[in-house]
Amino acid sequence: MTKVGVVGAGMTLFRRRLQETGKEMCFEATKMALDSAGLTRGDVDMVVCGTAPDAFDGVAMKGEYLLDGSGGYRKPYTRVFTGGGTGVFSTIAGWWHVASGLADVVLVVNEEKMSSCQPHPQSVFANIWDPILDRPLKPNLVWIFAMEMNRYMTVYGVKKEDIARVAVKNKRNAVGHPCAQLADPNITVDDVLNSEVMAWPVQRLDISPPSDGASAVILASEDFIRKRHIKDRAWISGVGWCIDSTMWTDRDLVFPEYVARAAKHAYKMAKIDEPRRQIDFAEPYDPFDYKELHHLEGLLLADKGEAPVLTREGVTERDGKLPVCPSGGLLGVGNPIAATMGMKIGELFWQLTGQAGKRQIPHEVHTGVSQAWGDLMQYGSVVVMKG
C-alpha cells in the first residue's frame, strides 16, 4: 500500500449563519488548503466531497451541487456520507484513493449549511427516526443523546459536574481557534449546570450548536511529497470504520462498541497495541460533552467509566498527559456536521506539524487519533496520524 500524508488543510469560520453559499464556502476552504500546501487544482487527481443530509441545504444531489466549489470539475469525484461520521470518514475515503495507488493527490472537501433550514434544522434531523416505530411518538433528536447520556451516567455513577467539565474545557480551548463560534474563556461548570434543561440530563451548554462551515484537507502519496519537497506533512498510519444495527432499542447504549471496533482496526494498521501509551493526543467527536467521554472509552484511551475521572484530574487538558480536543472541538468551534473535519483531521495535521499557534500542545506530540460518530448512535470512523 502507498504511504499517504496530509499536506494541507483549510476551513472557513464556523457561524450559526454565513452569507456564503455552500459552493462558496467549499471554494474558500479548498483554496486555503491548496495554498497552504503550495499546490494548485492542476496537481489534484481526484476529489472526495463529504456532506451530511441533502435536506439541510434543501438541495438534492448535494455532492453535485458542491462540485465546482470543491475543485472537482472534470475530475474523478465522489460524494460520501456517513452522517456525523463523515467528519472523519471522508478522509478515509480519500486515503484509499491514494493508498491504492490510483491517485497521487486527493482533495477532501466537507461542507454543511444548516442555517438554510427554517426555522431550525431540528425538523430535518427528526427524519432519521424509524418511520413506523419511532416517528409516531414525535421524537426530537436530542432525545437520543439524553437517553444515551442517562444510561452512561446511571450505569457508571457519573456525576453531571464531571460531564460539564468537558464543555468547559472545550469552550476554553476554542479561544485559540480563529474560526470558533462558541469560544468562552470564562465559562464555568456552574454555567453548564445552570443552563436551560432541554431534555434531561441534557442542558443547553452540554450541546454544540448548529453551524454553517466548510473544511478541506489534501492527501498525497509519499512519492509526491518527496518529489515536491513538501515539509509540512503528517502521515495517516491507521484507519477504521464500523457501523452497528439501526435497531438501536436492542443495544445497550452504555458503550459504543462500533467505535471500539473501528479503533481496533485503525490501531492494528498503525501497529499500536497499547493505545494509552502510544497515542499522545486525541480529537474524539464531541457534539455533546458526554460524547467525548463515551468516545474516549470507545477509543480504548480510558477504561469503561474512567473517562470522567481522567477529565476531573486534568489529564485531558491541553497541557495534560493526554490532551483531548485541543482544537476546542464541536462544543467550542461549532458543529457543521461533516465540516467538523477541520477540528478532527485538520487539527491533527496542524498539531503534528507545529502550526496550531495558540492551540499548540506545549509538549512534543508524535501520534494523534481523531474520531467521528453519527447516524442513530451507531457509526464510528477513526484515523490515526503520525508526525
Binding site: 488543510a9 486555503m32 497552504s36 418511520p131 442517562n150 431534555a199 435497531m247 445497550d252 496550531a356
Partner: protein
C-alpha cells in the same frame, strides 16, 4: 490557525438580518408527502398492537427472540423462523425528561420518554415509548413497567395504540 494563515473566510449574518429582509435571499417550501408500506414484519407487529399484544420473531440458529420483529436475522444472516408472542411488561433501560417538542420548541409540561426492554424477548431488546402515571422524580432506570393500552375501538395499528408504559401495580408482575 495555522500560524501562517491570516484571513479566515466567512461573512457572518445575524438572525435579524434574515428576518428584516436585509440580505438578498430566496425561499422554497418543499411539498413532500410519503406513505410507507410497513413491510412483512412490521405489518404483523402493527396488527397485533390492535389486539393489545406484542409479537416477536425467533431465530433458531442464534436462539434469540427478536423484538422489534424482523424477517431476517442480522447476526446469522438467514430468514427468521417463527412468530411468538412476548409480554407487555418490561424494564426501563434509559429515559429522558424532555422540555423540547419535535421541532425543538419549548414545552412546560415535560415528556417522559425512553427505552423499555420487554419481558419474553432476548435481553435488552425493546422499544422507545412514553412513560405515564409517574412523576419525573419517580422515574428511574431499572423500573418495572407495563403497557397501558388504548381501548380496542381506539386502536389503529400504530405504536400509539399504547398510551404509555406505567409502573407495575400491586400484584402485577
Amino acid at each position: 490557525m495555522t500560524a501562517r494563515i491570516s484571513r479566515w473566510p466567512g461573512i457572518e449574518l445575524r438572525a435579524a438580518d434574515l428576518l428584516e429582509g436585509k440580505i438578498t435571499q430566496t425561499r422554497f417550501r418543499p411539498d413532500a408527502k410519503y406513505a410507507w408500506s410497513a413491510g412483512e414484519a412490521m405489518s404483523r407487529f402493527l396488527e397485533e398492537l390492535q389486539n393489545g399484544r406484542f409479537i416477536a420473531r425467533t431465530c433458531h440458529k442464534c436462539q434469540r427472540i427478536l423484538f422489534p420483529p424482523r424477517m431476517f436475522c442480522e447476526e446469522c444472516f438467514r430468514p427468521t423462523d417463527e412468530w411468538t408472542f412476548i409480554h407487555d411488561t418490561g424494564t426501563i433501560e434509559t429515559f429522558s425528561v424532555s422540555y423540547l417538542d419535535t421541532d425543538a420548541k419549548r414545552i412546560t409540561e415535560p415528556i417522559l420518554v425512553g427505552v423499555v426492554s420487554l419481558d419474553g424477548a432476548s435481553p435488552k431488546m425493546g422499544m422507545m415509548h412514553y412513560f405515564g402515571e409517574m412523576t419525573k422524580e419517580e422515574i428511574r432506570i431499572g423500573m418495572r413497567v407495563k403497557a397501558e393500552w388504548k381501548p380496542p375501538t381506539e386502536r389503529r395499528g400504530s405504536v400509539l395504540d399504547i398510551r404509555y408504559f406505567r409502573p407495575l401495580r400491586e400484584g402485577e408482575r
